[in-house]
Symmetry: C2
Subunit: 96 residues, 2 copies
Amino acid sequence: MFKPLDPLLHSELRLAVVSLLISAEEAEFPYIKEQTGATAGNLSVQIDKLSAAGYIEVEKTFKGKKPCTLCRITPAGLKAFEEYVKALRSYLDVKQ
Amino acid sequence: MFKPLDPLLHSELRLAVVSLLISAEEAEFPYIKEQTGATAGNLSVQIDKLSAAGYIEVEKTFKGKKPCTLCRITPAGLKAFEEYVKALRSYLDVKQ
DNA sequence: TAAACAACTTAATTTTATAAACCAAATTAT
DNA sequence: ATAATTTGGTTTATAAAATTAAGTTGTTTA
C-alpha cells in the first residue's frame, strides 16, 4: 500500500539540497545556503549526510584565496530521488 | 523557491494516516494499523498529534463490547494535505 | 593591528519518532 | 471458576534526527 520513504531524502533541507543540485548540476555552499534559507551549521551537517550516503559529491577547492565547497549530484543521488518521488506517489495519489 | 513543508504532515506515518483517511473517509484504529504497518504505540501517538492539530477527528465508540476508535479526516486536514502536496511540488518538479 | 567577516565545522540542545512497557476489558482454555 | 491470551489501545522511556549555538581558520577592511 504505502511504500517506505528513504529517510535520507525525507527531510525538508536534504530534499531541497538534492532538488537544487538536480536542477543546477553543481552549486557552491553559500548559494545552497541562500536558496534553501538554511543556517550554515545545519546545511553543513546535512551535506555531510548526503555525501556519506553517496547521493552527492563534495569538492573542496579555492576561489582565489577563499575556500569554496562545491556540490554535485551523483547518479546514485539521482536514482534515490527518483525512487523517493515514486514512493511518495503512493501517499499523494489519493482519489478524493 | 522552496515552500516550507508542514512538519505535521511531513512524517511518513502521519502522511500515510491522512492519505488513508482521505481515501476512506472513515477508518478504525486496527485497520489503519494494518494498512500502515505501524505499531500500536507509534500509531496512537501520531493519531493524537493529528487530532490535536485538528487534521483528523477521533471518535471513541464501542463495537459490541469492544472499544473502537474511529478516525475521520476534517476539512482542515484535507486543506493541509492539499497545501502540503502543493508545497512538495516545489521540491519535486525539477527539470532534469 | 585589531575588529569584523566569510566559510565552514564541531559540539550541544531540542525536537521528533519509535519502541517498550503497561493497562483494562473481553475472550478462550483448563 | 479462574488463569492465560487476545484485543485495543495509552503512557513512558529510549533512540535518532534536526537545529542551534559556539568555535575554528584564514581574510579583508578600518
